[in-house]
């Protein structure tokens, strides 16, 4: 068992734990912060899997922007009547389904990919990914720009306050 593996397992443990907390804690903001931890840990895993660039993007986009957004949203929608329980009556169903999903996927991957190993020899640097994107994945990349624009405008239109014009 190499060092990377040990570190990966540690990250994994952190990710799972914090994810669980993020999904269960009663404090809205806490759960957002726990999510940050999870995503960070996942980013760590990325690094260990030789995907540096992805890891950085993950940290920047999520920790940098998404979570901030989320926290703002939480602030904005903080309501006077604080919600009693942070989880709905649906939670047992949810728990079962989540568990089944996890176990099912786990079983699938285990039966499919057991015994395989990752020899991290080809580092996913910004350059290599950039080449890949602009040589081979231009089309989806272009479309993606469209998606972003559309989402942006959609978000603006929807969230504009009723008073204007």
């Amino acid at each position: 068992m190499t060092a990377t593996e040990i570190i990966f397992l540690l990250f994994a443990a952190v990710a799972v734990g914090s994810a669980l907390l993020a999904m269960t804690t009663k404090q809205l903001v806490h759960s957002a912060l726990w999510l940050v931890v999870t995503l960070g840990a996942v980013a760590g895993c990325f690094v260990l899997m030789t995907a540096e660039f992805v890891a950085w993007v993950q940290v920047l986009v999520y920790v940098g922007s998404v979570v901030v957004l989320v926290i703002f949203a939480l602030m904005l929608t903080r309501q006077q009547s604080t919600i009693s329980a942070e989880v709905t009556g649906n939670r047992w169903t949810a728990a079962v389904l989540g568990l089944v999903a996890a176990v099912g996927l786990g079983a699938t991957v285990v039966s499919g990919f057991h015994g395989e190993r990752i020899e991290g020899n080809r580092i996913g640097t910004a350059r290599s990914l950039g080449e890949a994107i602009f040589n081979d994945w231009v089309l989806p990349f272009e479309i993606l720009s469209g998606v972003l624009l559309a989402a942006l405008i959609g978000a603006i239109v929807i969230s504009r306050s009723g008073t204007e014009r």
Partner: protein, 472 residues
Amino acid sequence: MNIPVDWAVVGPAVIISIGALVALLVDAFYHRRTWLGSGLPAGIALVWAGFELFRLHDDIVLLPMGELMFALSLIILGGTLVVVVASNVMNFENAMPPGEYHFLLLAAAAGALMMVAARDLVTLVVALELLSLPSIALVGLRQGDRRAIRSAWTFFLASVVSTAVTLMGISLLYGIAGTLAYEGIDEGLRDTDMPEGVVAVAVVLTIIGLLFKLGAVPFHVWIPDTYLGAPIMVAGFLSSVSKAASLGAVFTLLAIALPEAFDTTSALLAVVAAVTMTVGNLGALRQTNAIGMLAWSSIAQAGFLIVPAAVFTRFGEDSAVQYLAVYVLANLVAFAALAVVLRLRGSTDYSELKGLARTDPPTGVPLVMAALTLAGFPPAVIGLVTKYVVIRPAIEAGETWLAVVMAINVMLGLAYYLRFVAVLVDRPAVDDPYRSPSPPVSIRISKAAVLVGTAGLVALSAWPDLLLSNLP
């Protein structure tokens, strides 16, 4: 290996995207924000894209499933155009910015085109999102309308969840095949030594996103709420264009990437189709609102649409496209006519529609014709013929049970379509609130569009060959 990017294919989509931007900008600087300012450029863009599509016809048909792609792109463009034209009766004045409306509409249309054109899963996913996100925005567009925003929220959450599921499937597929290009996946699946189960999981999860867009049971839950809350023509768009796109995607995916997994997919889809059409029809039985009825019926129709995909025979995609074309036309005629009704009377409840075919033939008669077409019942012969066309693959594939289920569903469908028709041609209420001395021009335009569509249905009914010999 290298992902083939056939730029020729992208042409129409690019034009539409440009059109979308133009519409946005024109509207932004156009002093009085009415439908015309942005609708016109949008319409022009769509028509132009249509020409472009025809120009590229020969290149497109050379691609694998090119015929299908061409036909569906055509349907998508036409459908969107109808939506744009018919949208003009919706009151943009308060709470619905036409520029953004048309921008989002065209963006979604572009996404639809790309879904059909996609030949690798990455493009597919991104295109799917390009279709979804603007649609969601469109649903929630009407401002200060609780119902609209609630629908948007419903649609959004259901959509992102299913996207996540699909992505999970894709990732597994990637793990199995080592690539996300369709041909590559085919090869990968052919010479993989994975257990069947793993492949099955990956395939099913991947397809689910598309089934969701089609509105197959049990991924239909979002449809009734969304259609009822959305601006009416947006509902029309969802029920026609985005269904067309996802159907095209399903076909292409199954035909090029997943022939190996045919046993899994066909068995699954057959069941899904049967359940979907039944649930849709049963759900529609008790509807007393035209849009609610159409929402459920669109679920049922989706069931019929899936059948050819389930049984992949020599008639498969042809019949699907022919059925889809007629369905889209009839459905849009219905929605456009209802848009007029909604504008004039503020509701599409049956109580409002009573005797419409007598008091206001230009909207009522098309509704009757559309309903009969959807029911597949003469005098709308074309509807019946397409029912025949769509039952045929099931029979060819020896799935007689499926054919029988379809038959029974034809009956179920008639039950509520006929109720709708009966309401329309019934003797009108004595004191009819609405008497418009001279309808505004927008309504005239819409009615004209509706009548054109109806004329199309009538023509097809008189001579179904027009459709059946010319679509692929």
